[in-house]
Amino acid sequence: MKQQGAAAHHVEGVTKGRDGGGRQRAAWGFLAPALALIGVFFFVPVVAALLLSFTDFDLYALADRGVLRVIGLANYHQLLTNPDFLGALRNTLFYGLIGGPLSVAVSLGAALLVNARLAPFRGFFRTVYFAPYVTTLVAAAVIWRFMLHTRYGLVNHGLGALGIGPVDWLGDARWALPAIVLMSIWKSFGYNMVIFVAGLQTIPEELYEAASLDGAKGWTRFRHVTLPMLGPTLGFVSVITLINYFQLFAEPYVMTQGGPLRSTTSLVLLMYEEGFRWWRMGVAAAVAVVLFALVLAGTLLQRRLMREDA
């Protein structure tokens, strides 16, 4: 907060200066191209989507604008009574609220491992853990489909060795969602891990030395030194991850096409289907607005939580 205050004073000083008007004009001049781009490619589409969500723009309207109706909130009302939408909302919350924290935990764990002084081949493991993130998703999904195959898959083979019967991972509505969450975590944890490693390396060694002088070990060191020092990184990673998981699309699209029984359909996948498969743009826009609200609420909530923590 203090820093922000200082910055504000600084800006005030500049604008009230003798040459303020000219400088301000120059500043706007420099900002204008970027602002124009943001306006055209961000604000205009957002406003257009909002307006579109109050209409029933569809295939018929595409052919003949005369049958375009302004229907107010009917799209939203229809969504709330549509089991497909409610299912997708539930799945998206599952992706975000279960997959997100799990993913952060896994990447933090991996970061601690590859950052530990005692761990051998640290560079090697960092590369290995980051590899899934840069792998093409479709290729990874194909491999995972093999691994999760009910009869010939590696995963069920392993479970079989432990005496657990085969699980129909992608064909059973109870298991498909967890299976896709697992795959997404595997696919993306390397990215967060790298950020965490960078965060861990900024923690001054003296703090750990001081902590050990006070007799702190393992968990206590982590709880009282690492975690607080990692606070901002953790906040950033959590928000980014939550947003990513709320926008999960490609994994279910490639692995299950949202099935079985729509148990893996996310909001973005539903939006894609409504918009580009069926050309019901009005409904798709309404889904987009709901998703926007959800991401906004999630981000604000998380920021509030982080501030209380600090």
Binding site: D56, D58, L59, Y60, L62, A63, D64, V67, R69, Q78, R145, H149, T150, Y152, D168, L170, G171, A173, T256, G259, P260, L261, R262, F276, R277, W278, W279
Partner: protein
């Protein structure tokens, strides 16, 4: 710079721009653009050399588009006014592009054609190209579905002929399962709507009410078909699995996981090459069994049509290409390189098809085809069929609950269609 020089410069620039905008072949020939999908897009290119040789002055650029992306690409191109001169169109999409008014009507061209007549085609497949009395496409190949079965397993179970009624069919599934140790009698993928929809058409269900305004799923014929479908699973005669869970259908068919499979002509080539040598003669095809025997054993008229888009700048040349592709000799050549079955009577009289044992069942089936409902929403309706058949098969819903829910969902999908129909009453129905 003087005014006239400036003007001359501008005119020159405009000419250059205009020349670039025109998609003209270098020699001044007319260049046609054709879109074809998947494997068809690959093989149709081979035919174009012959067409160009027979039609000097016309050149054809074939663009191959993956099937998965085809529908999306067509619609986005319609919005962007970038459609080609002619294209292959899945015949369930015709109604949709008719709604968009993107297709050129062909009736007058067909009436004036010397080489193409409606009577040359199987009526069931021709019907899929007619919407509201106007012909919008010419059938290119037929994609109906029928029964592929393991003849060796049938023989071991003492079944002498493929089933023709639903009752005989159930008996065959049970006997194969009991007497040969095959885990399942038949494979009906839960991820496909075709088997249940075919059963329903066989039982006499129109699927949608007249005009395609509402679902007709609570009617007795659809319920009967659904009961027959669900019974196959309840008796354990088919695996509760989708296409995805059975990694390789050919492998499982060869392995004897199931003895029957409802699929289409593209599998003729696949089965011929993928079955292990020992099983080359062990599989056969049969027309669809029906609830009351042969004549009720109808199937859906799937396939692709050739269409011309309204925006084409070379309609005469585009029509010449459609006429040429529809000649029995061209169709036979297309069958030889692609395995797609031709839709004309004449092509089927050629020894290449007439003497092919596996194709004979398709020839029978071609006389028993029914078009699917011609509404732009059909694909969405079909996904509802998939959703609810799986819920019933997995025991989440009863058939009674499922058909009521299907009607409710489908009525909602067709709401706009009803509104337009009410609004358009009295006016030009187009």
């Amino acid at each position: 710079m003087s005014g006239s020089a400036l003007r001359r410069g501008l005119v020159g620039a405009l000419v250059i721009v205009a020349a670039c905008g025109r998609a003209r072949a270098p020699s001044g020939d007319v260049q046609l653009t054709m879109w074809a999908f998947g494997r068809e897009g690959e093989v149709v290119q081979e035919l174009m050399r012959d067409f160009e040789a027979a039609h000097p002055g016309i050149r054809v650029k074939v663009q191959q588009i993956p099937w998965m992306a085809a529908h999306e690409k067509l619609l986005t191109s319609y919005v962007g006014e970038m459609l080609p001169d002619i294209a292959q169109l899945g015949n369930t999409w015709i109604a949709e592009f008719e709604t968009l008014d993107a297709l050129a009507p062909l009736d007058s061209l067909i009436a004036g054609s010397r080489s193409l007549s409606r009577a040359a085609f199987f009526p069931g497949i021709w019907a899929t190209n007619v919407v509201a009395g106007r012909t919008l496409g010419v059938p290119w190949y037929v994609d109906t579905r029928l029964l592929f079965y393991r003849r060796d397993l049938f023989e071991r179970a003492g079944i002498l002929a493929p089933p023709s009624t639903w009752d005989e069919w159930l008996v065959a599934m049970r006997r194969v399962k009991q007497l040969t140790g095959t885990p399942y009698g038949i494979f009906l993928p839960l991820s496909e709507w075709n088997p249940l929809v075919i059963f329903a058409m066989q039982a006499g269900s129109p699927l949608l009410t007249p005009g395609g305004l509402r679902g007709a799923f609570t009617d007795a014929p659809f319920r009967d078909a659904f009961a027959f479908y669900a019974r196959i699973f309840d008796e354990g005669l088919a695996p509760r699995a989708g296409q995805q869970q059975l990694a390789n259908v050919h492998q499982e068919f060869a392995r004897g996981t199931f003895a029957m499979y409802i699929t289409g002509p593209w599998q003729l080539g696949e089965f011929a090459t993928r079955m292990p040598p020992a099983l080359r003669g062990a599989w056969a095809t049969a027309p669809m069994p029906g609830p009351r025997g042969d004549s009720s054993g109808i199937s859906m008229a799937g396939g692709s049509s050739l269409v011309m888009f309204r925006g084409s700048r070379h309609p005469a040349e585009a029509w010449a290409l459609i006429e040429w592709l529809s000649q029995p000799s061209t169709q036979l050549e297309f069958y030889r390189i692609s395995g797609n079955l031709p839709p004309t009577y004449a092509a089927w009289q050629d020894p290449l098809l007439a003497n092919n044992a596996h194709a004979a069942a398709f020839r029978t089936q071609l006389d028993r085809l029914r078009p699917l409902p011609a509404v732009p929403e059909w694909e969405q309706v079909a996904t509802k069929v998939i959703e609810y058949q799986e819920r019933v098969v997995r025991g989440v819903l009863t058939i009674d609950q499922a058909v009521v829910a299907m009607n409710r969902d489908v009525d909602r999908l067709l709401e706009k269609r009803r509104w337009i129909a009410e609004r358009g009453q009295g006016a030009d129905p187009r």
